[in-house]
Symmetry: C2
Subunit: 337 residues, 2 copies
DNA sequence: CTGTTAGCGCTTTCAC
DNA sequence: GTGAAAGCGCTAACAG
């Protein structure tokens, strides 16, 4: 059996409350006693029992990150950072899979909350699209920080990327390379990002007095298969686009695959631009031009914000918008004369 | 304040012990009383408080998965499965980043264990290479299941892929396509997989009476950069290999990139074979021939095994070796005449 | 500044 | 079959 607070108290010759004070860095302990207790803690090899603390404080010391398993962005490298933050702040972090509008997912989440097993949540897209999470957490007054929320509200804190700006920059980059027919691949309608990216694309065309024609829009769902199919459709037309803005890196991968399968050279015959800058984008020949979303940093910021909220600490900025930046690699080039 | 066991007891008109029996599916409760209690539970919206249970049972109901943040295989899709399993079995699952031989990592782990915050661990490579984990968990008698352990022992349970067989099959595939000079890219020395894959490669050459020449071995550390550099070195030689067995998909990506940058056609001028079959292997032109490791299933099996161990349930097979299978895609082809 | 006391919500004896 | 009582390890409230 492990050492408890009583063992420490006995060893240090003081009461358990004093030990408790030392553990929690509370004031009103003389420096001498404090060091004495600290020595005792080391001597008996004491580590506080979190379950006891959790029970008495009605606090779970656990945070949930809601993730949609369909996307593969969340790698262990990304998660590593937030696990570290949690560790430092004494919170465990639970990765919680969530499918929007899926009753089992909802039940699990509701159970987690009603069972007081979590103190707060970070939601990542598209988990918050069904509104359930927001409603539930609001009802139970459980803090929530959204990453790229589907709908931004005035009250719920979020960390969001400026998809409009990012898409604008990407489209402008293609225009500046001389492209005039630039196709855009639409993402799922339940993602705010996909809507904003479309607007950014349109706005850039507008700004350069190019007409945004519906016929250069294709669905892709931001998936590989979607990008692949869309490209086949687009490139079999009489008039072909010279560039495709894929809307996401995953769909851009499909575009690249289809293009190469059709014997097209990238960027010679077709320029391709993605969005997200996921890990492999720079590792795929010829290097994918894309818009960098600092997803690691965003998740980190969201987690830090959530911890402050849960701890009841004051927060300056509750709603943060981050401007993404264009990363030019080999997949886009000047239009062939 | 949420409903407690007392509220349920009061509502059902029985003692808290009876409620406890119902919750835990214990015998010695009349069917009528049981249904009555169940109704009461629903009526008051009772959810057991895990912290209280944890405290009294000296059990954390939490499992740790040790992951090396350097590799990016662990996507949310992979994790989703095990989180689900944990949920069903009433265990929370903590993803724990771990760098072998890193003192901070060690301290964190030791703290987690001595603080009784976890009931058991699954380790993934290369977390167990420094021996620390195995020692620590053995000392504290905390159950451990290893995935692809660095050294297999007779006592510690593991789920492992047969890297020797996999590499043998991959190499043989290349030989059967007519390749005679097949380079192999070495992985990190602290990975059992990389050693076994080398042996499998050699054995296949041997079996076909081809001499395994040291000169066709290059280091890659199983990384993109390693694969890239190795390929540049190999393809600048007087005599070039006609195929590269990259040892991992990540390094294979580097090979593909370098090859295409050098204007080589794949598989026309160079066949490329990877190992792991990570998510994107099939999405990268021209499709990566590789050896499929069922990492999701392995992690799932390991987690289920760990739960049985932690629950003290009997287990049939404690050490499982899975035979991987070759997946032939576009990156390998018959040698050019 | 320090200690005593009373629980947190649950399971575990052990009587009935 | 069922229940009363004790206590897990800790913190909160209040005395001293």
């Amino acid at each position: 059996m492990a050492a408890t607070i009583k063992d420490v108290a006995k060893y240090a010759g003081c009461s358990i409350k004093t030990v408790s004070r030392v553990i929690n860095n509370e004031p009103y302990v003389t420096p001498e006693l404090r060091t004495q207790v600290q020595a005792a803690i080391r001597a008996v090899g004491y580590v506080p029992n979190l379950s006891a603390r959790r029970l008495v404080q009605h606090k779970a010391y656990m945070l949930g990150i809601l993730m949609y398993p369909g996307y593969s962005q969340a790698t262990s490298a990304v998660l590593s950072r937030i696990m570290d933050i949690g560790y430092e702040e004494n919170y465990d972090i639970l990765i919680q899979p969530y499918f929007p509008s899926h009753s089992r997912s909802r039940d699990k989440l509701a159970n987690l909350i009603t069972g007081h097993r979590l103190d707060g949540f970070v939601s990542t897209p598209p988990c918050d699209t069904d509104g359930f999470i927001v409603d539930l957490l609001t009802t139970y007054k459980v803090p929530l920080v959204q990453i790229n929320p589907f709908t931004r509200t005035e009250t719920i804190p979020y960390i969001a990327g400026d998809d409009y700006q990012g898409a604008f920059a990407a489209t402008e980059h293609l225009i500046n390379l001389g492209h005039r027919i630039i196709a855009f691949l639409l993402g799922p309608r339940n993602l705010r990002a996909s809507v904003d990216r479309l607007y950014g694309y349109r706005a850039a065309l507008d700004a350069h007095r190019l007409t945004a024609n519906e016929q250069w829009l294709e669905d892709s769902e931001f998936t590989f298969d979607g990008g692949y199919t869309a490209t086949k459709l687009l490139m079999e037309r009489q008039v072909r686009p010279t560039a495709i803005f894929a809307g996401s890196d995953e769909s851009a991968l499909g575009v690249l695959f289809a293009a190469q399968e059709m014997g097209l050279r990238v960027p010679g015959d077709l320029s391709v631009c993605g969005y997200d800058d996921f890990l492999l984008s720079k590792n795929i020949w010829p290097g994918l031009t894309t818009v960098h979303q600092p997803s690691e940093e965003m998740l980190e910021q969201a987690t830090r914000l959530l911890i402050k909220l849960v701890n009841g600490e004051p927060v300056e900025e509750k709603q943060v918008v981050i401007t993404p930046r264009l990363v030019v690699r080999g997949s886009t080039g000047r239009i062939n004369p």
